[in-house]
Amino acid sequence: MKVTLKIFRFNPEVDQKFHYETYVVEGEPTDRVLDLLEQVKGYQDGTLSFRRSCAHGVCGSDAIRINGRNHLACKTLVRDVGDKITVEPVLGLKVIKDLIVDMEPFFDNYKKVLPFFVNESPLPADGKERHQTPEQRERFDDTTKCILCACCTTSCPSFWASDDYLGPAALVTAHRFIFDSRDEAASERLHTLAETSGTARCHTAYNCTLACPREIQVTKAIGELKMAMVTGRLD
């Protein structure tokens, strides 16, 4: 079948302003949108630039906007979005070239929530693993799935509006550690989240939950963080 792709184009070395280019490619309903972008790049316009790596939704490179909603290009099939597809970069981060945006602000926010396991207590005497029950492990399972693709953060109206909001992805990371029974830095993280740029900026628009390609219940996780800040309960 013929698929029409309308793609956002911006070359910072030539263009003053972005424009859209339309390409027609041969595709199957089961093709990934990424496959079509590769087709365009391979045969119609080599200058088209986008990020990609694993091509099956686990590396998080190819977050883009397809028909107005955030998706991973490799996890979206033609049959899900139809044969007229508009492809644009995600919103809220500066476009560098075509579909490539500047990810630095996103990772800067990630780094603000102490995105690493902290436990300075002595190891168990036998040198073996710190114990954790399956229930304690289950408590933060959902947020361990995050691949930092930025689909959630760049779909969040608060993030679009505010330059300093940590964004859903950073909060998801905070959740992953705060609710880990082995971690000891919940206090520091909650202090960061309690700032004006933290959970206060979440107005439960739910865009993040809808956008997450890993189906993480992002808004729920943020809600749990807000409750933890008020009650102090971490289990």
Binding site: A161, E195, G198, A200, T231, G232
Partner: protein, 140 residues
């Protein structure tokens, strides 16, 4: 094993406090509105007032809202108790609403100084609105 952070370790920031206050004040408003509504019905609104008046009473339980209607006896409405209820709802609602405005303004205004100015203006607005409301409740 329970994991609970004591207040001393999680701190109490303005944001957290206000987030919590916004939730509580919303619940309090529901409670006060229902309370006012039942009060109005109990005091004769079933027979003498129309729907619009009942709603006004419920959301702004103020005796001046009854004066213009065909309710013959407004004395119970003007008592101290109902003035206190009206005042509670007024203060909770202005604080709740103005904080909502601050939250939205914070989305768009990022500089610390800008936020300070907006907060100052908001507090002034909240204070003046509350004063006007109190004046109306207590002079009538």
């Amino acid at each position: 094993m329970k994991r609970t952070l004591p207040l001393s370790r999680r701190g109490l920031s303005f944001e957290t406090l206000m987030w919590f206050f916004t939730r509580l004040s919303a619940l309090a408003m529901y409670a006060l509105i229902l309370f006012g509504l039942f009060g109005a019905l109990w005091m004769g609104a079933r027979y003498q007032m129309n729907f619009a008046d009942v709603m006004r009473w419920a959301f702004m339980p103020n005796v001046t809202h009854v004066q213009g209607t065909n309710v013959p006896d407004i004395a119970p409405w003007a008592g101290l108790f109902w003035k206190l209820v009206a005042m509670a709802l007024l203060l909770v609602a202005t604080a709740h609403g103005v904080h909502g405005l601050v939250v939205i303004a914070d989305d768009y205004i990022v500089s610390a100084r800008g936020r300070q100015i907006v907060r100052l203006l908001s507090i002034l607005m909240m204070a003046s609105m509350s004063l006007i409301g109190l004046y109306i409740i207590w002079i009538s």
